[in-house]
Assembly symmetry: C2
Homo-oligomer: 225 residues x 2
DNA sequence: GTCTATAGATTGATAGAC
DNA sequence: GTCTATCAATCTATAGAC
């Protein structure tokens, strides 16, 4: 039986690799991140990735799974709570409540106690990453929640055609994904120059709560247009 | 002096490489596209890329420049027409007109006579691509137009804070970029399965004109919320 | 479990014949 | 201008000592 220090080192290595991979995948993309960059940042040996995770793609899967399982549980619970609440009061759910149930936990992840600061950015990237591996893994995890979101919005806006609903959901996803992405860009942009049109300091502009409210107002109005 | 056949072959090779690069960069990303994949699809020799363009990054620059120069001219003209028209009538431009002046030419590029079907997708990708080379080149070309868009929207919505305007423009860009991206995904998804919630045939859902109207309604409502 | 060393494949780019 | 051949670097992944 291994002593404590060995076990702790093992766990730490795995976690350090996951953290570094999350950060680098979010910032540079899947194809843009080499295993050497990951192990370099994680202060781990190159072979440790393959030992602990098997392949680079399996590492990506592990990065997604660590965050997405609890996040999807939260989003699913909140979406079903909105539906149940409306049903028990014999009314339709409001589109705004449905959108909030989906968006708020997603962005709030940025300031969670877990310190998962880079994961929302990774979600933003995954939504639009053209790499098949990224999209396949992401869709497998997020597909059911996405389906639930569409169903709830269909209840909220029954007069909206399926065609229009489909696109409006994707506009929402696009705006949300881009928001997560901009947030990371803004951090690195302090050295290279301000984003076009950014008025105040970066910190103020990227405050998660204020950003969520802005996004909520925007997509709620668009959804109910 | 070279005879006609030689000149034509040269031009054709350059054009075939540009077309193939545009298509593959849009579909697989900059880092996800090898020079061998490009020359393979263009039926050109591997060394032809370096001969005609110098480097892979210079090729990307050429791909952007070919489309972005005329597209930006159109967008700039239309944005200034909206401002001038409002100014001559001593009224504020409407946010909807400003947004249409920016969005319509962007998406309409998909069905242009040039057959630039993949370039809107490339724009969608460039907006969110994490690769520094991609972002640098793209921002250099699109920065001035982007600045003009923000200025025009500031005139249209003077009561909106600079902070809110900044984010709403980025929500709009995100929705538009994602829309261009989904459009390509939907094409390739006919084999792998429908996107979640897609109601009708792919062709109907991706009709450029209808898509533009959907997007216009969505972002106009969000912008004026 | 962690390390060194390296296999095996692929990449961007170039030299030189034609 | 186009081709073959190849360099040098990089990549993922693995074998084997410790």
């Amino acid at each position: 039986m291994a002593d404590n220090s060995t076990v702790l080192t093992q766990i730490d290595t795995k976690k350090r690799i996951l953290d570094a991979a999350e950060r680098l995948f979010a910032r540079n993309g899947f194809q843009g991140t080499s295993m050497r960059a990951i192990t370099g940042e994680a202060k781990a040996n190159l072979a440790a990735v393959n030992y602990h995770f098997g392949t680079k793609e399996a590492l990506l899967e592990a990065v997604f799974e660590r965050r997405l399982v609890p996040l999807n549980k939260t989003r699913t619970d909140r979406l079903e709570a909105v539906r149940d609440s409306a049903r028990s009061e014999a009314r339709r759910p409001s589109a705004r409540d449905v959108l909030r149930a989906f968006i708020e936990p997603t962005i709030a992840f940025a300031v969670s106690k877990e310190g998962a600061g880079d994961f929302p950015t990774l979600i933003g990237r995954a939504i639009i990453d053209p790499d098949d591996a990224v999209r396949k893994i992401f869709l497998r995890h997020v597909g059911p929640v996405f389906h639930l979101l569409i169903d709830a919005l269909r209840e909220a806006l029954p007069e909206l055609s399926a065609h229009a609903l489909f696109w409006r959901v994707h506009f929402t996803i696009g705006a949300m994904g881009h928001t997560c992405h901009i947030r990371t860009m803004a951090e690195t942009m302090q050295t290279t120059g301000k984003p076009h049109g950014l008025p105040d300091g970066v910190a103020a502009a990227c405050d998660a709560e204020a950003m969520t409210e802005m996004l909520m107002n925007f997509v709620s109005a668009g959804m109910e247009a």
